[in-house]
């Protein structure tokens, strides 16, 4: 490669749409994922706002019950399969894992591009149900049998879309595992890897091992619908609880596919903005593996009211409590990292703090649901919806936004308006809690989920929740608008390490990085990735 080519950053090397959609550069693929994910996220968020609008008052306001059922199904399918599962690994994992490991790309760049194309094909299939066939599925994103076998809506296409999307997830996971094992820069042992890489490593194993199970399960739904083979439908000899087992064997570990990368992001943000080493590096690294491992054995807590055996319910409840231990270890270490740190309050740190606050509420309400006796009362109420959104949106969503603000100057070589970013965070934070906390309250009062109507006594919390959804929408638009406006700002201002305290390898290279990621050999800190006492000197 010529020196001129080396000096060009990855955005300048080639121009035109084809240089993007057929690029095998991990950075461009990461951005392809980012733009696709944000598009689908906005579609999903719009559906969410529409659902809240219907629930502003009791009774029918905007939609028929059937339409409402289809909207919440589409909202779930889009947000889970098209946004939150791929989110952090596909965008920030693709972009930053090779750079953080000090290498030039992932192990299988072409497979990486293929995974994006498969993702797009799956997304088109999922969205096509809006136009073709008998309308989108009305089953909820879980596609529970036997209803999913019998409903006249377009379940087959939705299920096939989820099946196809699974391949994208598997390929990304496979790529990351091999990259981490084989392409770490010399001197970077496993215990000198950044914690984001550890989190992606644990996540990738789940993607690789759990996703095929849901793939087969979803194909079984198609087989049941098309050929009537009698796997899940009791009227022809099937077992509906078997479906729930197979579905949750994947879908509970999938919760950790969504959450673990977010933990990795927080473990990067806190040392940078506390200007001190992470507390309990090994504990955080190994707790990621522990969560991934124990997370495989707890799927039954989604099925406490399904009619499964009492013995199994007790076993699953006990196992569920075990997951809380490694998760609590992480939270303890994050808070300890902040203690006596030289804290620099920047927008990414606000998102990290918002994450910890909201994830704690989400996590602790999860412990309530893991308790067998409590779950019997709370199952299928709005408490579960509130809990889930606190973990997924308040947790992973906020970590995603935090990462976007953190790595924005590195990805695009520009900087957004920090004051607007701070304001957008607070709007989002207030709106989020107004939107989802009343759901927990109304759930405790007994309001069931997945109904377009409710009793008058649930009116006030629902009204507050809908107001909250509008505030969230304003916060999201302001945040995204501010980031987009940042593209117009001067590029020259961005140095290699714009936060001044970034210590992992991506802060040693140019902003944006060159095509081969580094213009000179990266230098590892002496004593692990967060050795703030012996930081390598970074010259521009």
């Amino acid at each position: 490669m010529t020196s001129t080519a080396l000096n060009l950053n990855y955005l300048q090397v080639k121009k035109g749409i084809f240089s993007w959609i057929f690029s095998v550069d991990h950075k461009r693929i990461g951005l392809l994922y980012l733009y696709s994910l944000i598009t689908f996220f906005l579609v999903g968020a719009t559906l969410g706002v529409l659902m809240r609008l219907e629930l502003l008052n009791p009774g029918k306001d905007l939609f028929e019950a059937q339409t409402y059922n289809q909207i919440f199904t589409m909202h779930g399918v889009i947000m889970i399969f098209l946004f939150i599962i791929p989110s952090i690994p596909a965008v920030f994992g693709n972009f930053f894992l090779p750079i953080m490991l000090g290498t030039d790309d992932v192990s299988f760049p072409r497979l990486n591009l293929l995974s994006w194309w498969i993702y797009i094909i799956g997304a088109i299939m999922a969205l096509s149900t809006l136009i073709f066939g008998d309308g989108p599925a009305d089953t909820g994103w879980t596609f529970y049998a036997p209803y999913s076998v019998k409903t006249g809506t377009n379940v087959t296409m939705s299920v096939l879309a989820a099946f196809v999307l699974g391949f994208s997830s598997i390929l990304t996971g496979l790529n990351f595992i091999v990259t981490i094992h084989r392409l770490r820069t010399p001197g970077m042992t496993f215990l000198k890897m950044p914690l984001f890489a550890w989190a992606l490593y644990a996540t990738s194993w789940i993607q690789l091992l759990a996703t095929p199970i849901v793939g087969i399960t979803l194909l079984m739904i198609v087989a049941e619908r098309v050929f009537g083979v009698g796997l899940f439908d009791p009227s022809i000899g099937g077992d509906p609880i078997l479906y729930q087992h197979l579905f949750w064997i994947y879908s509970h570990p999938a919760v950790y596919i969504m959450a673990l990368p977010a933990f990795g992001i927080i473990s990067e943000l806190l040392p940078t903005f506390s200007n001190r080493t992470i507390f309990g590096y090994k504990a955080i690294a190994f707790s990621s593996l522990a969560i991934a491992f124990v997370g495989y054995f707890v799927w039954g807590h989604h099925m406490f009211t399904s009619g499964m055996s009492g013995t199994a319910r007790i076993i699953y409840s006990i196992l569920t409590f075990l997951v809380a231990i490694p998760t609590a270890i992480k939270v303890f270490n994050w808070v300890a990292t902040l203690y006596k740190g030289s804290i620099d309050v920047q927008p990414p740190l606000l998102y990290a703090l918002g994450f910890i606050f909201q994830f704690m509420i989400g996590g602790l309400s999860g412990v309530v649901l893991g308790a067998l006796a409590a779950d019997i009362h709370l199952h299928d109420t709005y408490f579960v919806v509130g809990h889930f959104h606190y973990v997924m949106f308040g947790g992973t969503g906020f970590a995603f936004f935090g990462a976007l603000h953190y790595w924005y100057p590195k990805i695009w070589g520009r900087m957004y308006n920090k004051l607007v970013a701070n304001i957008a965070f607070f709007i989002l934070f207030i709106g989020f809690n107004l939107l989802y906390f009343p759901m927990m309250v109304v759930g405790l009062m007994g309001m069931p989920r997945r109904y377009y109507d409710y009793l008058p006594e649930f009116h006030l919390p629902n009204m507050i929740s809908t107001f909250g959804s509008w505030i969230v929408a304003v916060g999201l638009l302001l945040m995204l608008g501010n980031l987009i406006a940042g593209f117009r700002r001067k590029r020259e201002a961005i140095v290699r390490n714009p936060w001044g305290t970034g210590i992992t390898l991506e802060w040693q290279t140019l902003s944006p990085p060159p095509l081969a990621n580094f213009d000179r050999m990266p230098v590892l800190p002496q004593d692990g990735p967060y050795d703030f006492d012996h930081k390598p000197e970074i010259k521009e």
Binding site: T103, T185, P186, L242, H245, Y296, F297, G300, S309, F518
Partner: protein, 104 residues
């Protein structure tokens, strides 16, 4: 960066599997297949044990394939452990689901 890939090649240990090993593995797999067929045809009196027997033979075949044809024998021990963990996970799924089903 390309330097990491160069180092990677240096780290890899070259091994050549003999024809004898390959051929012995093939014979073992063929024999196990014959045993599976014979049991399915003539072992009707095994009743519920027939499924167990078929799974046992299949497991042995998987181990032989992974060990010789897929080079687990010659690779680092960590990869053997990874395969074992996957196997443990799979068995756990089956056991936990069966506990639920049998106690319903």
């Amino acid at each position: 960066m390309s330097h990491t890939k160069d180092n990677l090649h240096k780290e890899e240990q070259v091994h050549i599997t003999s024809y004898k090993d390959h051929f012995s593995t093939l014979i073992a797999l063929l024999l196990l297949t014959v045993i599976t067929v014979v049991i399915s045809v003539f072992g009707a009196n095994l009743r519920s044990l027939s499924v167990f027997t078929a799974l046992l033979i299949a497991t042995v075949k998987v181990i032989v394939v992974a060990y010789y044809f897929m080079h687990l024998k010659y690779d680092k021990k960590i990869y053997t452990w990874l395969v074992l963990i996957v196997a443990i996970l799979f068995v756990s799924f089956a056991v936990l689901t069966s506990i639920e089903y049998l106690n319903r």
